[in-house]
Amino acid sequence: MNDMLKEFGDSHAQMAGSIDYQHPQAQIILDECQGMLGKLPEGKRLLDFAQEKGIKYQVITGKVPDFHISGSDLLVLVCPANTKAVDLDEMACNMGMGIRALEQPYIGIPRPHPGNNTPEGIHAVRRHFLDITIEMCKIVSEIYDMDNKSKIVDLLDKLGHRELYEAYRSGKSKEEMADIYFKSVNAV
């Protein structure tokens, strides 16, 4: 990442029990991710939504870049302590997906409840992941259009969503993308 390169990579071990796992570069990470998303049409839309709904952010350290939502208005981003090892595009993409996860209930996608194995519960989980994965394709596509860097596309490829990404790029319908997505996840 950019400013995050400054004087970092030598954090002290965090002993659990009295800490909040807060990333020491939390504010810089948030600023850089928001700066990146703000350059993208979909990213800007998500940031506007987050601001309108008063979404709060927290950045904690962790093994790999990730996100986690807590309650209806908190997005927890996970970022390795050594930020030199982190790709800003990947972190920004995680922020975008996290905001989308919090947006889902507002657009008719109910929050899934793990462990609910009723047909409705399973359907909710499938809708949640389909929507988040298409959102990832959308953000990755906009990042690629902005800077032509393929690293983030390669990451999506490694996650097994190349076909879905190409379907999104070629303007396939939501139904066609759903078919591709469920075929790929069922094959795993």
């Binding site: 965090q14 659990a16 029990g17 796992y21 927290q58 927890v76 050594n82 090892a85 793990p114 490694k158």
Partner: protein, 193 residues
Amino acid sequence: MIWHRLDREKTVSMIARVKPTTQSITFSPATSEAKCLKLPFYETFLLYRLTNFSSLPTFSMDFLSDGDTYFYMDGSDAPIQKINAQAGLKISKETVIPYLNFYYCFVRLPEGEIILLKSPEEAAIIDLYDEDRREEFGAVPTPIDIAEDTQTGTFSVTAPVLYDGSPMEAVITVTKDGRVTTTPKRMLTMGLN
């Protein structure tokens, strides 16, 4: 290497020890699982994992602990170095590869992802996000050369690695106190080496 699930009492105790001071990350004994894994290069510290199954995606936190003190695996090598200095590290020809597999699994390096490959050919099929593969700490690369400097206790390992997405032959040094340096030597052409 086999994970052992903690019973409810120990899970409750672990949650009490590692729970964050903020309420943003919560682990409830009813919806969480705690497990531990013995590592061949530590005498008293085990790897612990706490997973919350009530969130989507599931959320895990990893720690090194002696059952009393927990060090959070934050993606840097700081907790590993802390344990190495505090509790000692058993590095030998038998444990150096498990140590490196563990190290690369838990430390996010500026060079990018590094994985010891079972063979150069594995580069074509390996899934970076396959946690089970990443956690095969006993996986031994082929070909491999392990040399020990008996004066310093430093090991030098030459092995195929996936280095930021490319198959490379690398020379990896592991000092007696567990510091790791990875030097890529040459690109490997899968199946032709």
